[in-house]
Amino acid sequence: MQEIEIRNLSKQFDVKGHVVDALRGISLSIEKGDIFGIIGMSGAGKSTLVRSINFLEKPTDGQVFVGGVDLASLSGRELRKKRSEIGMIFQSFNLLEQKNVLDNVCFPLELAGIKKKEARKKAKELLETVNIADKEKAYPSQLSGGQKQRVAIARALATNPKILLCDEATSALDPQTTESILRLLKEINEKLDLTIVVITHQMSVVTQICKKVAIIEAGSVVEEGLVEDIFAAPKSDAARELILEKKVRYTPVEALHAHRRIRIVFNENSSEEPVIANLILKYRVPVNILKADTKNVGGKARGEMILGLPEGEKLQEDMIESLRKSGLTVTEVRENV
């Protein structure tokens, strides 16, 4: 069943008399239990899109269905009820600074009118789940970023939501903390059969936990599909740029400009064979390895390499052809990337 269905969603903002198109006709289906990534550069419209899923942002056009219900059809009270069934976490954590950890987690239960004693019991369980039970009496100012996000996750889960929206939830965290938070999200996704929508500008977040991904650029979805497919063979410029992240762009190798660059991705069938060695032996020319990396994409290891090919268009085409024959996906890396 589709847990979230977005149909032809558009949102315009009126900024001092002129119109900003934040979303332009977005359609997406997110299945129950999925971890769905929405990735794009800053300003692409990601936050606006995720805020439309709980109607914090009312769309200018189009519809949002959550659990089969058209959000536009709900009254104010019904909408608030629906929102309480959708958890949300943020880049800046948004904890109540004047309340301690336990009371922060109790907050949504307090809103729902649940008795204090019962709320505390539930909150303690949740703090156990997110592994931060020892901090229940601490105030947010005494916690690290990762700990704050754990508290925020516990709070978002307090009302037993079916959906969790994460808007750049790991963007303020260092790589290690990011990984532990992502692991936690994966865990609760499996344990609670929770549908998770992950908004990010970092491809590494998507490859680490998402099954499916939509890439948005200037308010439109430019590419959508299984993470492994898009990771292996990105079609849109936006996807390519996001996959390469900043590493290649900052590589201070002159060769980056001189040669034609390609990106190859190894899958489990291809990784046995010494592909690059074979390539060099076959054509008797040097191949420049500009970047090599392995990534965990949806639980499977994926090798990624960026090669600088020697000059000569015929030779380059032959080499690419030969790589494709050995079962690799090859994509061009544009000069301007």
């Binding site: 629906k82 949300m88 301690n100």
Partner: protein
């Protein structure tokens, strides 16, 4: 130093000053706090934007605040008489003090609420909080330190204004200072009343500041 009569007069003056300050602050907040909340939620990007209510509230606020207190005091004499039955004495002074303080308090409250992180308000909305719940469970809780600091400052100002009302027979220490110090040249009485006003002001400030720090869980 003074005879019993003067001592008693000064004690009564202290009592009247405290009475005016505390009650005008209290009633000022009874009016000003909801007024400030109303301004905050009806503004353009507020929780319940409403151009008309905001414009009217904003206008009233600015008008009253732009009239100097002494003039307001005189302008309000008929109104004061209608409310408390007379136009002089400490109870009567509370009326113009409240009217003067309420719009000031509304602004102070509005600016305290402004300091609440919009992200936290967004979080509460995302959890299905109603406007009422956001006001009582988020805004007033998160802004309490700033609200309390504002209340301390306001009370200090009201202490000063209550003394000012002494020039028109308002009662309290200000009244004594004017009558004895200004009209009769009894400098010693004048000095003692001023010293007492300073001491009371210091106590208000210190207690207020301590309590604010005690309330704050942000930096520890």
């Amino acid at each position: 130093m003074f005879d019993a009569k003067v001592t008693e007069m000064i004690l009564v003056g202290i009592r009247d000053t405290l009475y005016m300050t505390v009650f005008s602050a209290f009633f000022g907040y009874v009016v000003g706090l909801p007024f400030g909340i109303l301004l905050f939620i009806t503004r353009k990007d507020g929780l319940r934007p409403n151009r008309i209510i905001y414009a009217v509230g904003d206008f009233i606020c600015n008008i009253i605040r732009s009239v100097p207190f002494l003039i307001l005091l005189i302008l309000l004499i008929p109104f004061t008489r209608a409310v408390v039955g007379k136009s002089y004495g400490s109870t009567a002074t509370i009326v113009p003090l409240v009217i003067c303080a309420a719009p000031y308090i509304a602004r102070v409250v509005e600016s305290s609420l402004n300091e609440v992180d919009p992200g936290v308000i967004e979080m509460a909305k995302s959890m299905g909080a109603s406007t009422r719940q956001i006001i009582f469970k988020v805004l007033l809780v998160e802004a309490r330190v700033s609200l309390f600091t504002g209340a301390t400052i306001t009370t200090g100002i009201l202490l000063g204004y209550s003394a000012m009302s002494g020039t028109v027979g308002g009662g309290g220490l200000g009244d004594i200072a004017v009558r004895y110090g200004y009209y009769r040249w009894q400098t010693d009485i004048m000095i003692i009343t001023v010293a007492l006003l300073i001491v009371i002001f210091q106590i208000i400030q210190n207690v207020g500041t301590r309590f604010s720090i005690h309330l704050d869980h942000r930096k520890r």
